[in-house]
């Protein structure tokens, strides 16, 4: 894997996102439900920022706000100093559920963004081909999404996002629903991609091991309404391998402190009956012997 030197970058890292005191609620008047409350954090350019919190805590709402699908009720979000007013090709979301178009082949799915913007040029075709090769799907480029495995679909989706060269990649639990083996491979794969391209990324997950393995910076958020509980710099050197990270003392230390912070939040959401939250509680009690 190429070491990080400015020369390996097409552009200097761009896409610093500032979330400034953002609150968001759905509904009006006394029916209003506050989902996000006074959230403030920065997604640093060129870094992989991971947000972790109990499931159902409003992380996806934050993603919709950053993507520009919705406007926050209070506060502001900006990218490189410019306020976000709507969806834009500088921020691309890879959604929780697969959103590959089933009527287009893997290759045509990859090309969709440039085509929609009228950039169907030979250069973009070359780039699409190299991206499809980069995600290891050259032999499957003419297959339709339903003919591909879950992991392959995820890789096509990454390629479809990356071809647009967005300043920021936003990934909403992208590996959820994959089997454990595929998930591990995809984590290593995405991590390697990040180490190569240093693209600004905002990654949302409920999986603590995934979070620590991927993250440069870890943002721990609370149960609904979403608030930032803590920001942890994951100063584990890159390139990282999954096998190493389990042995890494620093990583385990971060994991322990993150888990204890999450534990309290998970308990709240556990009362509400969240599956992911109960997983946290399990993991935590296994580590510490207390519940």
């Amino acid at each position: 894997m190429a070491e990080f030197t400015p020369a390996t970058l097409k552009h200097p890292p761009q896409g610093e996102i500032r979330v400034d005191n953002v609150s968001h609620s759905y509904g009006v008047g006394k029916f209003a439900k506050e989902v996000v409350k006074d959230c403030g954090f920065t997604i640093e350019a060129g870094k992989l920022t991971v947000m972790i919190g109990p499931s159902g805590c409003g992380k996806s709402t934050l993603i919709r706000l950053i993507a520009g699908f919705e406007k926050p009720s209070k506060g502001s979000i900006s990218i490189d100093g410019k306020p976000i007013t709507g969806p834009g090709k500088d921020r691309l979301v890879v959604f929780q559920e697969t959103a590959l178009f089933p009527w287009m082949s893997a290759y045509n799915n990859t090309l969709y963004g440039p085509r929609a913007r009228g950039e169907d040029t030979p250069e973009i075709h070359r780039e699409a081909q190299s991206l499809v090769e980069r995600v290891g799907l050259t032999a499957f480029r003419n297959k339709y999404p339903t003919q591909l495995s879950g992991g392959m679909q995820r890789r096509v989706e990454l390629a479809r996002a990356m071809i647009n060269n967005p300043k920021v990649m936003i990934l909403d639990e992208p590996f959820r629903g994959l089997d454990a083996m595929t998930k591990a491979l995809m984590q290593e794969y995405y991590s390697a991609l990040h180490e190569e391209f240093h693209q600004t990324a905002f990654f949302v997950t409920t999986d603590i091991d995934e979070a620590i393995f991927m993250a440069d910076r870890l943002i721990i958020v609370s149960n609904i309404p979403t608030r930032v509980c803590a920001v942890v710099e994951v100063d584990v050197p890159r390139p990282r391998r999954l096998v190493d990270i389990y042995e890494n003392d620093r990583a385990n230390q971060i994991k322990m402190s993150a888990l204890s912070m999450l534990h309290e939040e998970a308990m709240k959401s556990f009362v509400g009956g969240s599956k992911a939250a109960s997983d946290f509680v399990d993991a935590y009690s296994k580590r510490t012997g207390k519940t």
């Binding site: 090709k89 979301v93 959103a99 178009f101 009527w103 969709y112 929609a116 339903t146 003919q147 647009n164």
Partner: protein, 232 residues
Amino acid sequence: MPGLTVVFTEWVSKNPPYGLSIYTPEYYQHVLTSVQRVAIAFGLATLLGVPFGLLLGWSRKFKDFVFPVFEILRPIPALAWVPLAILMFKGTESPVIFITFLPAFFATTLNTMLGVHSIDESYIRAAYCLGAKRAQIFRHVVLPGALPFIFTGLQISMGVGWFSLVAGEMISGEYGLGYVIYSGYTLVSYPVIAIGMITLGLVGWISSALVRIVGTSLMQWRVRSLGLGDGS
């Protein structure tokens, strides 16, 4: 009831006692007339019903205005339209085509609209995210996404088309398979009734197969994902 052998010998006889077999030119004229009527009605129903259904599914406002009227007209059986159709249209041809067209149009429109509604919101969000405009989303997402439902609608449309065609031909017209069946009844030539019915079965089957073939050729992605094709 005519015996099977009586029907069959009449059907393939060079000199049919009841006057209708595969060697008489009238037989083909009847078939051709019916096929023509269905083709025109089905074509019109598709040309009008698909865009109309897409519009109903795509535009909330348009649906709010038009759909209630549509839903009141839709349950009226095609047969109930017969007297009005005969009064409204001149000649024998247009009332029959109108009667055939109507239920085919309703089936196509309704299924197309449901097809648009069936499209997963995440495809539309993804397309917006990748920089597509509304018109492109319509072309690249809504249209292909609704296609499976549209073709279901066309299959139903073809079926109800033949159904109402026969009803229409029994009441007005001097050619067509419905007319053959009805005149067979009035002239007490029972084998002719059976020949008319079997022929209807055959042409109906062929026309449905044609719709299916067009459908599968337009929806390779679906054929392959359902494992109906070779998967290559």
